[in-house]
């Protein structure tokens, strides 16, 4: 059973927009929406061509779709919304992904993953915060360091922030690293979904527990905890994969689902997500479906998500058949 989605294919194809944007050579990851009167702004993260050592950096920008027809792109920003961090800062090598929230009439806040490079493991990530006073076109960082710190049970890789506000309380759903494992000579991270709350969006209290119990294996990796409150219930769409041998169709990202009455305690039911890889391996989502973002627009529920190569070609779109219900 589960939800039924009508896939619409790639709604944003990176290669269509590289002209004049050397920072957008490929990828469009972590889509996050901000609804305006006439358009839907979707923030995403992308990459310039890799450097001589094959290393990437990641920038964030946005694309605006016609509110009445999401297949129509109105504009793609000519700029990144945030600069990379200074030498030695937590976000020196990337800002990805981004999640935004309207704070009040004047300001919009963005929470983003900041990336740095390490010696014994390839990277570390921490969560930063930036503010926009021009209706979400450009953002200024609130400080040079992360808005929420590592802690004894969240030792590294705090990333994938999704900011929400329910009942006057800011809820930050994110992932935190558990351990690094060596597999086939490569360091692979294991990370799971977490939650912190705040009254002001600046000082955070961590729940300090995993929200979603691992299902496919002990070292299951979870990402993109995307929560929507709809029909009196909290629904989370997220993605998960194995921590070893996951590059490719087997073991690669799939989209999972959980529901909650309060946003804090969750019951997992992946089958209910109802969206999986295409039968045709040649399709853009033939090997994986990942990084879901579910939103409601004028009475219709939509999902943006990533296909093969974790959004290497752009991001995909599907519409929900019927209502968003619990299992």
């Amino acid at each position: 059973m589960g939800l039924k989605w009508n896939k619409q294919g790639l709604v944003f194809k990176s290669s269509d927009h590289t002209n004049g944007r050397d920072w957008l050579n490929a990828f469009a990851q972590g889509p996050a929406t901000l609804i305006f009167d006439d358009f839907v702004r979707v923030y995403f993260s992308c990459r310039p061509a890799p450097d001589e050592n094959g290393m990437f950096v990641s920038y964030s920008s946005f694309v605006d779709f016609d509110r009445k027809d999401l297949s129509k792109i109105i504009r793609v920003s000519d700029n990144q919304i945030l600069p990379l961090g200074d030498l030695g800062c937590f976000d020196e090598f990337g800002t990805y992904p981004v999640s935004v929230i309207r704070e009040n009439d004047q300001s919009i806040k963005a929470y983003y993953g900041g990336w740095t490079r390490c010696e014994s493991v390839p990277f570390n990530v921490a969560i930063g915060c930036a503010q926009s006073f021009d209706n979400g076109a450009t953002f200024e960082k609130m400080g040079q360091g992360p808005i929420i710190s590592y802690s004894p049970d969240e030792p590294f890789i705090m990333s994938g922030p999704k900011i929400r506000k329910f009942n006057d309380l800011y809820m930050l759903y994110y992932i935190a690293g558990k351990k690094w494992i060596m597999h086939d000579g490569r360091a692979e991270p294991v990370y799971t979904i977490r939650l912190a709350t705040s009254k002001d969006g600046v000082s955070w209290t961590k729940e300090n527990r995993e929200l979603i119990q691992p299902r496919i294996e002990d070292d299951e990796c979870q990402a993109s905890p995307d929560v929507i409150f709809y029909n009196g219930q909290y629904h989370m769409f997220f993605c998960y994969r194995k921590s070893r041998d996951y590059r490719g169709k087997n073991g690669g990202y799939r989209i999972g689902y959980a529901h909650s009455a309060d946003g804090f305690t969750w019951t997992r039911n992946d089958e209910h997500a109802g969206i999986t890889i295409s039968n045709d391996e040649g399709d853009v989502d033939g090997e994986m479906v990942a990084y879901p973002h579910v939103f409601e627009l004028d009475g219709q529920i939509h999902i943006f998500y990533l296909g093969n190569g974790v959004g290497r070609d752009g991001f995909c779109w599907a519409t929900l058949d019927g209502d968003l219900t619990c299992p």
């Binding site: 390490c118 915060c129 351990k179």
Partner: protein
């Protein structure tokens, strides 16, 4: 200043090159920090081994001394392991700061992990010992205190003590990495900060640089160590220039000093601290990583010498005979007795205006009192009322046997500079019109006459 701290040299106490250390460690015993056990000082420090790639790994050892500072022995095994793959303390723990929290023994670690665009990142971990300081177990795999919004990198060197039920941490935080030239490796800039906690684990930083720079904006400050004694918080720390500090002794680490009456707002005065002179060859080029400790009534400062403690640590003992500063320590009787010992007629004049006993009590209840003592004798005294922005000095008095030594001047300066550290705008006082020597003293300290009546002038100093 006649009341600088004086220290008696103890010499070099430990040289790692003279011993066979455990865990492949060969050189260095950095940042000596002690706990006091039943019959010994246990001094933890960090020594160095090399990994397969030839890079340094900093590991914790301890060295035991009897209470006369004779060497007893050193650790032989692992005290606390380095972190696992990808953790904040994977590549080293330095420094290691033990803390005797009631009857618990805990420690705050500074964990190192290597980066690519810059050398490293650091953060503070927390660990507990259940075997009297032989080994320590970490709390989780991650830090208890790390980079945050306004302290963006290189949080570490945490030193924790508990006062009046609240845990206080003094630590260092990085403000930036800079390159001397385009081709240089990046160098760090870091400053000293302060944070508080109710449980020793969850910390709220002040988000302020608490020790002002002496050299320039890129001065590097590290290893704060604080001791509370007789109403004063004493801090020693080390400071250096941002570039050239490894090879040029004039740019390398020196020991700085600051004092505070509340642990939060500090007055820096490296000269007053008096820890400027090397003792021998071993610390001739560098004095670094200082640590204040007290045992019964003896106060020591341990520190590292050349090459960041490559060849060990030594110490100084505070000379507590002679003139010393205290704060809010004198009781009513001591104050009254002191007034008796000031100028002839001082106490008569005072009693013609106030009830002396009540006045002494009022000072204790409402004023801040900066005191100079000689042994157990109060000989210099200044009492000031702290108001929101405008402080009021109500009494300045020096025992007549100690006048002419600059003690009055030192008292006024200390009082004013403390008001300045607290962000006050002015300091005021009243002085008798015919008390020329007092008026001269205040004028020398840039007080100006504000108003005058028949007997008294009000003088005011605007604090810049």
């Amino acid at each position: 200043m006649p009341i600088n701290m004086e220290w008696k040299p103890m010499g070099q106490l430990f040289n790692p090159l003279d011993h066979g250390l455990p865990m492949g460690c060969k050189t260095h015993s950095q940042s000596p920090q002690a706990i006091i056990l039943d019959n010994r000082f246990r001094v933890y420090c960090t020594s160095r081994a090399r990994d397969e790639g030839g890079k340094f790994l900093s590991k914790v050892i301890y060295v035991d001394f009897d209470f006369d500072w004779n060497f007893i022995g050193h650790s032989n095994g692992e005290i606390i392991p380095l972190g696992e793959l990808g953790t904040f303390d994977e590549h080293g723990i330095f420094p290691f700061s033990p803390f005797q929290d009631g009857d618990k023994i805990t420690a705050y670690t500074c964990g190192w992990s290597r980066r690519v665009s810059v050398d490293v990142e650091t953060a503070t971990g927390f660990a507990t010992s259940d075997d009297n300081g032989q080994t320590f177990e970490k709390l989780g795999h991650g830090p208890v205190f790390a980079s945050s919004l306004r302290e963006p990198m290189l949080v570490g060197d945490s030193f924790v003590r508990k006062y009046n039920g609240t845990y206080h941490m003094w630590y260092m935080y990085g403000t930036k990495w800079v390159k001397e030239t385009d081709n240089s490796k990046p160098d760090r800039v870091y400053k000293i900060g302060h944070a508080v906690s109710n449980d020793g684990v969850n910390w709220m930083p002040d988000n302020a640089q608490i020790i002002p720079d002496i050299l320039h904006e890129n001065e590097c400050q590290a290893l704060p160590s604080v001791l509370y004694d007789n109403g004063i918080y004493h801090m020693v720390f080390c400071y250096r220039d941002v570039f050239g500090f490894r090879d040029d002794p004039s740019k390398g680490y020196r020991i700085g000093y600051a004092y505070s009456v509340d642990g939060q707002y500090w007055v820096r005065d490296d000269d007053l601290g008096g820890l400027k002179n090397a003792q021998g060859e071993w610390d001739r080029d560098m004095m670094s990583y200082p640590h204040l400790m007290q045992h019964h009534d003896k106060i020591y400062c341990l520190y590292n010498g050349n090459q960041f403690g490559r060849e060990g640590f030594g110490g100084y003992q505070l000379n507590q005979s002679g003139l010393t500063w205290k704060h809010n320590q004198a009781d009513k009787n001591k104050i009254l007795n002191h007034f008796q010992n000031c100028d002839e007629g001082f106490i008569d004049e005072l009693s013609s205006r106030v009830d002396i006993v009540d006045y002494a009590q009022k000072l204790i209840d409402k004023a801040q009192r900066f005191e100079v003592w000689n042994g157990d004798q109060l000989i210099g005294f200044i009492a000031v009322y702290w108001n929101d922005e405008n402080d009021y000095i109500t009494n300045v008095s020096v025992d007549r046997k100690y006048q002419g030594q600059g003690i009055g001047d030192a008292l006024v300066k200390r009082c004013v500079i403390t008001s300045k550290s607290l962000g006050k705008k002015t300091v005021k006082l009243e002085v008798k019109n015919d008390n020329q020597s007092a008026i001269n003293l205040y004028k020398k300290n840039r007080f100006e006459c504000m108003t005058e009546n028949i007997n008294y002038a009000t003088m005011i100093k605007i604090i810049e």
